[in-house]
């Protein structure tokens, strides 16, 4: 039958020639190949990335560890509406809503806020649907951070202590609404 793809190889089992049976020519061929690689290591640029000093660049669309954003005044944006938890296909997000007391206006932007907000990083598939669902632009997946490995399973449940971004702007994630347009352009060129 004729081959459809014309890529079929006919396998013939010919008896080996003397040179093939003696093994040695084949062995020397193999040795010469590895020797070429040996000298290539000295001449060509090495492709190894020496990790702690060098790091591989993240992809521009990389979605990493979550962050709960603050607004320009440093107040938490999250209003605990629960849309992110509904949107989450892995059901990784849980939260408890609470009412803002008097005198807490500088802490929480909305009248209702998340008393606790937990994301289970073992369940999370980092799809980014919470980010899209959020009406207050509070939850973001950072482009440059990952959930590091830990020894215990419960350490992977991230609470507000680890999710809410720091008050000082320097420590904040580079991705998010507080970027000025110039900063955003700079980041885009940097990531591209």
């Amino acid at each position: 039958m004729e081959s459809l793809s014309n890529r079929a190889k006919v396998l013939t089992k010919k008896p080996m020639t003397l040179a093939e049976r003696a093994y040695l020519p084949a062995i020397f061929q193999g040795l010469s190949i590895t020797m070429q690689h040996f000298f290539r290591a000295a001449t060509k640029k090495q492709i190894t990335i020496r990790y702690p000093e060098e790091t591989r660049p993240f992809s521009p669309v990389f979605r990493g560890l979550h962050v709960l954003k603050r607004d320009e005044a440093g107040r938490e944006r999250c209003t605990a509406c629960g849309l992110c938890a509904v949107a989450c296909p892995a059901e990784a997000i849980t939260m408890v809503a609470g009412e803002r007391k008097k005198g807490e206006e500088n802490l929480y932007r909305e009248e209702k806020y998340a008393v606790s907000y937990e994301i289970n990083m073992l369940r999370c598939i980092f799809c980014g649907l919470c980010e899209e669902a959020c009406p207050k632009a509070a939850v973001y997946l950072q482009a440059d951070k990952m959930a590091p490995p830990r020894f215990e399973r419960d350490e992977f449940i991230y609470g507000k202590d680890r999710l809410v971004e720091p008050v000082t702007p320097d420590n904040r994630s580079k991705r998010g609404i507080q970027l000025t347009p110039e900063q955003a352009d700079k980041l885009r060129t940097q990531l591209a």
């Binding site: 062995i27 590895t34 690689h37 040996f38």
Partner: protein
């Protein structure tokens, strides 16, 4: 032999042991660097400049690891196995002539641990004893994979010893002596220099014997492509599956010392030992043109010969590693077929060929 001379020779033995250990230590580093280069990688480069302190780091790691005894193991033999492997590996380095005589006034130092007139048989005997370390360790582990590795090591070593011995017999027919020093002297180039003697080395007279010998050396040292006793894909770790910490380290060390000794023996028997071309011309030139004393010139030649021998040895060690990272492992039936149906008949043919050539006066 007077006592001072004995003292010097004792020192030489100690130095030889120390050098063997040092070379084995750095063989682990060399193995990893060569493997990396052959595979377009970087290799160990963190510990010290170019990773040169890597063996130290490995030693610290091995010493501080947990000493583990498997349940049901024969504890005494479990410890005895790696010790025996190390001892037999080290002992064979004692008779190898690393250099000629160094003359300091009255004292003459032979750069050889001990000279015995059955040196070749001694090395051969120590190599054949090396398998006990593996067998005892493998059996005492009380683990079927270890036992299988031990059994494989035993049958492999016995099978390849035969071909190795037969390859050596052809050399003995030419040399007529079992002493390694005598064999080395016979391979020295004639003085004054004539070009027929350019390489008066046994490998020129025994190319087939050398190929057989080097294949058997690979099998005897359990190096790839004949590392069936520790074949990871089938036997986890083979005979050292159950070993950890420095007992494991002793097994690994013993393998590298065996590689060193095998390289040294090949250099001595087939590649002229500490001889190098033009050595007598160089000595005469040093005496006549540079005005050195004959003794000083001879000492310089001896040291150059020592360096040359170590160059040959390192070349062989490199070859061992080069082959390891090139060739895949043999299957066990292929290993046995190669040993019994190819190498032994070839070795016997080589003996007959050598006998014929000697009879008709082609080689002497």
């Amino acid at each position: 032999m007077t006592l001072p001379a004995l003292g010097w020779q004792g020192l030489v033995v100690l130095v030889v042991f120390g050098v063997s250990l040092l070379i084995a230590t750095y063989s682990t580093y060399a193995e990893r660097v060569i493997a990396a280069f052959l595979q377009d990688r970087v290799g160990p480069d963190r510990a010290g400049p170019f990773g040169l302190l890597q063996p130290l780091a490995d030693a610290v790691k091995l010493f501080t690891k947990e000493e583990f005894f498997p349940a049901g193991a024969n504890r005494a033999l479990f410890v005895f196995g790696p010790c025996l492997a190390m001892t037999t590996a080290l002992m064979s380095s004692a008779v190898i002539p690393f250099g000629n005589v160094l003359q300091f006034g009255e004292t003459a130092i032979h750069l050889q641990g001990i000279e015995i007139n059955v040196g070749m048989l001694y090395v051969f005997g120590m190599v054949s004893l090396g398998v006990y370390g593996i067998m005892i360790g493998g059996w005492a582990s009380n683990n079927k994979f270890s036992l299988l590795g031990a059994i494989r090591a035993a049958s492999q070593n016995i099978s390849y010893e035969l071909a190795m011995g037969l390859a050596l017999i052809a050399v003995l027919m030419i040399s007529g002596t079992l002493s390694l020093r005598e064999i080395t002297f016979q391979q020295s180039s004639a003085a004054p220099f004539v070009w027929q003697d350019i390489f008066n080395w046994n490998v020129m007279k025994q190319p087939l014997g050398f190929v057989i010998f080097i294949v058997c050396a690979f099998a005897e040292t359990n190096r790839t492509p004949f590392d069936l006793p520790e074949c990871e894909t089938e036997l986890i770790g083979g005979y050292h599956t159950e070993y950890s910490s420095m007992k494991m380290g002793l097994y690994l060390f013993a393998e590298y010392i065996n590689v060193f000794v095998a390289s040294a023996v090949m250099s001595v028997i087939y590649f002229g030992g500490f001889n190098f071309p033009f050595q007598y011309d160089l000595r005469d030139w040093l005496v006549s043109a540079q005005g050195l004393e004959l003794v000083t010139a001879s000492n310089i030649i001896t040291i150059l010969g020592l360096v040359g021998l170590f160059g040959k040895i390192f070349g062989f060690i490199f070859f061992f590693m080069w082959v390891r990272w090139t060739l895949p492992r043999f299957r066990y039936d292929q290993l046995m077929r190669l040993g019994w149906t190819i190498l032994i008949p070839l070795a016997i043919f080589n003996i007959m060929l050598t006998g014929g050539l000697i009879t008709f006066g082609v080689i002497k």
